[in-house]
Each structure stands twice: as C-alpha cells, then as structure tokens.
Amino acid sequence: MKKKITVQICTGTNCYVFGGANLLDLEKNLPSEVKEKVEVKGATCLGFCKDKKYGKAPFVLVEDELVSEADVHKVIKKVMQYVDKVVD
C-alpha cells in the first residue's frame, strides 16, 4: 500500500487569522503528479502559537516537520522534499 505524505494545516484561530485561511486550497495548488501522494488535513490548534520559539503563525506540519509562517509555496517546497522518499 502506498504511504501518503501527511500535511496538517493548523486551523486554530491564531493560524487561521494570520494566513492559515489561505492554505485551505493548498490541495488545488499541488503539482498534479504529487497530488495523489499527499493527504491534506485541517487540524485543530496544534499549540505552536503558544511558544515563540516555534516562530510565527500560520503553522503547518508536513509529516513531523514544522513549517512556520507557512504559505502555499513554502509548504509545497517542503512536500516536494518528501515526495522522493515515498515508497511506491
């Protein structure tokens, strides 16, 4: 079975107001060849906004790697790093 890359977009209020809202159509922006290898999920507050050391909202988890001040391009870039590792 193919293992998909999990992308969790924090939809806690802090993340959402600071741009998480714009990440909700991330799936549409993924390159078509990787779309099926990625699973995009909205997550309730992941808690990273509580500690300044993680940087600024919005936060996205690509597998277990944190992307802060996330935007569509940053997230796709991170996803692409994982794409090659996915075992078909």
């Binding site: 107001v17 809202a21 159509d25 909205g42 309730t44």
Partner: protein
C-alpha cells in the same frame, strides 16, 4: 485574507493593541510598540528602522481612532492619543485615513521607458507624443513627468514594447476616481466622491490607506459594567472553520453580554423589499428595482448616479433593522456591529441605533489577543434564530433568493433578477445606462460592491470561495 506581508503587519498591530487594551496597559506601553516591532539592528521593511517606526506610529494612531491627516504636533506621543481615545464619549467620525509617510512610493507618470529601449532612429515615441514630453538622452527615451499627460500613445507606438504601463494600484482600482495625488505625490481621498468600498485599502502594497478603528472604544466598554451586544453580519460564519455557535461563544468569551444575528434584520429587509417590488414593479410603472443593503452601492448611487436613486429600494439595511429591534429591547445597551466591510462603518456613523463597528479581522485579532481559540470556545446559541432567507444575504444571489421567500408563488415567477457582482468602472457604466435603457428581462438588480458579495469584503479572513461554501452548508443545515 493574509496573502501579503502588509496585511500580516496590520494584523500583528491590531492584535498587540487589543492585548494592551484588554490588559489595561495601553497608555503605559503603547509608546514602546513601534520600537519593539523594529528594534535597532533588526530588519526594516523600509529604508531604515527609524522610518518603519515612524510609520508604525501612524498605523497605531489610526488603530486608536485618529486620522493621520489631523496630526498637529509631531511630538504628541501615542500614549496621549491613547488617553484621549479612552476618554472620548463619541466615536471617531472618520472612516479612512491615508498614512502619507507610507505612501508616495508610486509613480507620478504611468508610462515608463524600460532598458529595452534602443533609442532607435525612427523614434515614434518622440514624434507621436502630443505634449513633446519625450526626449532621447544617453541613447534612450526619457519621459518628462512635468509634461506627460498619461495618454499612453508612446507605449502603443514603440516597436520594441520598451515602454510599459505602471499602475498606481489605489487609483487604478478606485471605481469612482476618488483618490489622487497632491502636488507632493501623496494620495488623497476626496470624500465628496468616496463610496467607502475599501478597495484602495486592500490593494495598496504599502498599506498606506487604513481604517480609523473603534477597537479601543469597544474594548473599553467590554471591560465596563455596561451591557454590550454584538450584532454579527452573516458573512462572519464563513470566516472561521467552526460552527456559528462556537463563533458566538468566542464572542461571548471576549466579554460581550449577548450575540445576535444580523440575518434577523435581513429578513425584515427582504420582507420590505418584496412588498416594494410588488407595488412598484409588478403593480406599478417602474421597469426595475435595485437592492439597497450594500452601503457602498447606495453611496455610489447617491454620489455618482443620482438619476438611479429612484430605482433603489427604500428599504433600510439588515444592520439597521437588527439594531432597531435591539435598541427597543435594550435601550441602554451598547450595540456593536461585526462587519466585513468599510462602508458599514460609514453607514453606522449615520445610523441612529448602531454605536460601534468592529471589522472581521479586528474580531479575529481580538480573539488572539485574549488567547481565545474559536474551536475550543463553549458553544453559545443566540436566543433568536434567523431563517434561511436572511442568512443567505452575504453570498451574491442571496438577496434575490431571499426575496422569493416573501413573494407569492405567482409573483415569484415574475421576478427576474440580475446581479452586479462587484462595483467597478464597467458595472457603474452598465448601471448608468440602465436608467434610460433598462435591460429587457431584468426587473430586480442585486448590487454588491464586493465580488462574490459580503464574503469578498475588504476585511475578511477566509478566502471568499471557502466562506461561501461554509455559509451555504450552514444555511442547508438550517431547516427553517
């Protein structure tokens, strides 16, 4: 929507000011904020941290409810403004302000000769310029800004496509020509023309046009013993992923004493509009009628197409009716409208019942300032539940749909609506032409200044598409 850095900076400041106001440290701490944001040796978004600090000061001034244009004493500290703001009884009578220090980065002349210019022998730009504004220096064409009248002929005739059009975003997007430069190159808003659509504010890449906020006035009342009621525009439901009851609960956590849906007033608007439609169109002489709930549209008609005014419904807005109902029940309460748009600020200033306006993004930032996560909020069910018809107003087409609920089956068949999906130069021309040449098969015009309806408003958080589908789901889940 945060799709650029300017909006991020704005929301960071709204959050900071809200936090200080909630914690009662506004006067003590406010003067530190520009320096904390741009410390020595830190990253500046301008030429240097000092300029960034100066502009931040003006941004805060506007957030405290003051117009930057009204600054008389440059030495007056933010703490003094904060004190004045907290002491004032009446709300700031202004809606927008231009931060002149932040502006001025835009071109005076819209046509620009790029390096692709070869200084050719033919020189059609020089020959065709009706004002003699172009000369060749150092092998390239140069446009003299003092002579250029922005006609664009040079761009059209250049065989190398070396001359480009550089827009001034605010002037370009303003549908009514209300914003222009003064002799120093700074933009000024002509309030005889402005319709408060807020498009200039959204589009300015330097975020030089901002609202005069009522944030600290509202927070002051939230902390007081006075009863404060939030009336939320139905578009709010599309601004967060959580159900309406959670959003209402989060509003209660902010310190509001109660929450009401403006969709309640929208039902009154739709009901009145249906009666008027029957009288004036189905039984009367008028060829068509337009909606009146979008305040930027109403302002546009008043200031720019007065001859269309008799076609606009005389019905008041959903905000007005909701506030009227609440005022009758709670004569001493403070009524705060939660708004997707700038034009509602202007409407509220002239409304006898609404006391304050808080924008969607301000509400979102207030949640963050108080550490409230909407999804974790305790659900609150507003006491009075609105119907489908009123809740559909914020998505384009929703007003026409609502009208159908209040028309008889026969009359419903006779309604043939069209939508003005966003006010721009083109739709204004269409509306102008309709005064003398009404469109066949159109007897109702639903006019919205923002594309997509209120979900596309200038202070929204969610992508309009996502907000629309959330609202539609909300309406569908509502049985009534």
């Amino acid at each position: 929507m945060v799709d650029n850095n300017a909006i991020r900076i704005k929301r960071e400041l709204i959050t900071k000011i809200s936090q200080l106001a909630f914690e009662g440290r506004l006067v003590e701490e406010i003067d530190k904020v520009p320096i904390e944001k741009f410390p020595k040796g830190g990253i500046s978004t301008r030429c240097c941290v000092y300029k960034s600090r100066a502009i931040t000061k003006y941004r805060i001034m506007a957030l405290l409810g003051f117009r930057v244009e009204d600054e008389e004493d440059e030495l007056k500290a933010l703490s003094e403004y904060a004190k004045e703001g907290l002491d004032r009884q009446n709300v700031s009578p202004h809606v927008l302000t231009v931060i002149d220090e932040a502006c001025s980065a835009c071109v005076r002349v819209n046509y620009f000769v790029t390096n692709a210019c070869k200084g050719c022998l033919a020189r059609p730009c020089v020959i065709n310029c009706p004002k003699g504004a172009i000369e060749i220096r150092d092998g390239q064409a140069h446009i003299n800004p003092d002579k250029c009248v922005n006609c664009g002929l040079c761009m059209k005739v250049c065989p190398y496509h070396a001359i480009i059009y550089v827009p001034v975003p605010c002037e370009d997007i303003c549908p009514v020509g209300a914003i222009s430069k003064d002799e120093t190159g700074k933009e000024h808003i002509d309030y005889e023309k402005c319709i408060y659509c807020g498009k200039c504010m959204v589009v300015c890449p330097f975020s030089a046009i901002v609202e005069c906020s009522q944030l600290i006035d509202v927070i002051k009342h939230l902390k007081s013993d006075r009863k404060v009621i939030a009336l939320f525009a139905p578009a709010l439901v599309g601004q967060f992923q959580s159900p309406m009851e959670k959003i209402a609960g989060a509003i209660i956590e902010l310190g509001f004493d109660d929450v009401y849906e403006v969709a309640l007033g929208a039902e009154v608007t739709a009901h009145n509009e249906a009666i008027e439609f029957k009288e004036k169109i189905l039984e009367g002489e008028n060829r068509f009628m337009t909606s009146s709930c979008c305040p930027a549209y109403v302002e546009m008609v008043k200031k720019h197409i007065p001859e269309l005014k008799s076609f606009v419904s005389t019905t008041r807005s959903p905000m007005h009716y909701t506030a009227q109902m609440l005022r009758e029940n709670f004569p001493n309460a403070i009524l705060v409208f939660i708004s997707p748009c700038v034009a509602k600020r202007n409407e509220a200033l002239n409304d006898e019942y609404v006391d304050y306006v808080v924008s969607f993004e301000e509400l979102g930032c207030m949640f963050i300032a108080k550490g409230i996560d909407v999804d974790s909020a305790e659900e609150y069910v507003p006491k009075q539940r609105a119907y489908k018809s009123g809740r559909g107003f914020p998505v384009i087409g929703g007003v026409s749909e609502a009208l159908k609920y209040y028309l008889s089956d026969d009359d419903k068949q006779k309604l043939s609506p069209m939508t003005i999906d966003g006010i721009n130069k083109k739709s204004i021309n269409l509306l102008k032409s309709m005064v003398n040449r009404p469109l066949p098969n159109v007897n109702f015009v639903e006019a919205m200044a923002c594309e997509g309806g209120c979900v596309g408003g200038p202070t929204v958080i969610s992508l309009p598409k996502i907000a629309s589908s959330k609202i539609k789901r909300w309406i569908e889940s509502n049985n009534k």
